[in-house]
Amino acid sequence: MRIGIVCPYTWEVPGGVQAHIRDLAEALIADGHRVSVIAPAADDTVLPPYVTSAGRAVPVPYNGSVARLAFGFLSANRVRRWIGEGGFDVLHVHEPAVPSLGVLACWVARGPIVATFHASYERSRAMSVAAPMLQSAMEKITARIAVSDAARKTLVEHLGGDAVLIPNGVTVSRYAEGEPLPGWGPDGGVIGFLGRMDEPRKGLAVLLEAFETLAPERPGLRLLIAGPGDPDDVLGRVPRAYRDRVGLLGMVSEADKVRAYHSVDVFCAPNLGGESFGIVLTEAMSAGAPILASDIPAFRRVLGDGQAGALFATGDAAALAKEAARLLDDPGRRAKLSDEARHAVRRYDWSTVAREVVRVYETVTHAAAGVEEDVS
């Protein structure tokens, strides 16, 4: 199938949407499809062979922050030419409600158009003005995908209509191998955590409380914490005597994140809720880290009811401590959980997710003649 994918945000700037499109495009190419991505990019950026630049994005205030967006006649012309030359069977637009290449593509194209919605927000002033203006672009979209329940809810509330849910994938092979971080490494006593330290729903407080319970009787026990937030605030919640046993990495690069997953004996996801999918969990599973997670429904589902990772009662520090102690004392069980996790995570691999997306493509291209320029 010939697939044209439209990315609204600057390619070389790291972001969830860009990463999603890169992984999806690569999985589709690996599956034998012909994929072309159009994205805003700076002139000197080295782009992968499947990406076409739509020119530079312009920073403008939008929806409460400054966004780099590609709009205007020149960008529209570039998208028009790309569509004219591409001969695509299907056009896959990301974030068509954002004033950038996505909405431009809907404007200039005609034919089977699939749209994926990523963002979720409670209430957006920009969206309330935008909704009527977006109407004609939205009407051209034949199939809609949301990456999470939250994104789907946002879509329903702001623009109306529904979407199918296809969550983000994880590129399992990217996490499968990794060198432990210096000074760390599975030594029978490292518990890991990854996520925003200052976001209560990520549940770091529960883990810190459990650590305080376990630390006195386990001199080898250490915590490895990665993620943005104020380190002093976290250390302030740990008794002075154990502070040197807590490692705070702060924001980590993609490469160091992989290494962090390989540096722990137990990876803990103590989330209190609100996690629609748990991308962190699937990454840790890809790395084969033995997992200990709160039993919120999403985690229970991903971990196959405890088959691929141990579960504890959400928010219960004593239960976490007890379960962590059992895991740390049982290398055999950890090895088994690690194997099970690597196996279970395959269904979340991008290759599987991409196949799901292709099914959507096939549904809309079934009776259609392909994508062409809209000359009306």
């Binding site: 312009v58 205030p61 709009f71 004033p99 431009l104 809907c106 003005v129 203006m133």
Partner: protein, 177 residues
């Protein structure tokens, strides 16, 4: 007798002086209010022209969205957020109007040139009215701060006025003309 006349004369003179100062402060307050009304009108007018542009179907939908969102934010912002929202609208306008070949594209439409003239004037009026308002603020503040005005509370319940600080730099292509 002479002493009494001198005292009475002094009291009368002081009274006349104070009422003259109070009258001056009053005039300054009226000037300030007028300047504020003019500024408010100029800002609303600018937002209105932007919204009209966004709804005109002359621009591409992405540009329309960016412009409409910024104009809407500016128009609905509360007093505390207004300076921020109006600055954002100035920034957005520059990004939109300073696109390459923006003018040529607009010229293709019959209403395009008209709207652009209107935008040009609305943007300039924001710059002017803000300068006049801030001048009025500066003078009023100096007058209110004077010893006499403070001791006798000549300003009454009027608030100490604040400057309106925004980025109102016009788009390059409008400024050169």
């Amino acid at each position: 007798m002479t002493t009494l006349i001198v005292v009475i004369a002094l009291v009368v003179l002081t009274g006349v002086y104070i009422s003259w100062r109070a009258g001056r402060l009053d005039r300054l307050h009226i000037r300030l209010e007028t300047a504020h009304a003019a500024l408010d009108a100029a800002l609303l007018r600018r937002a209105a022209v932007c919204l009209e542009f966004a709804g005109s179907r002359i621009l591409d939908p992405a540009t329309s969205l960016v412009l409409a969102a910024a104009a809407h934010e500016a128009r609905t912002a509360g007093p505390d957020e207004r300076e921020h929202a109006e600055s954002d609208l100035s920034k957005t306008l520059r990004a939109v109007v300073d696109q390459e070949r923006f003018r040529e594209k607009l010229a293709e439409h019959s209403t395009g040139a008209e709207l652009l003239t209107e935008l040009d004037s609305a943007v300039a009026k924001v710059v002017y009215s803000r300068r006049f308002y801030n001048n009025a603020v500066a003078v009023t503040r100096t007058a209110q701060r004077r010893w006499l005005a403070r001791t006798l509370r000549l300003a009454g319940h009027t608030d100490y006025p604040g400057f309106f600080e925004i980025d109102d730099a016009p788009p390059d292509s409008l400024a050169v003309e």
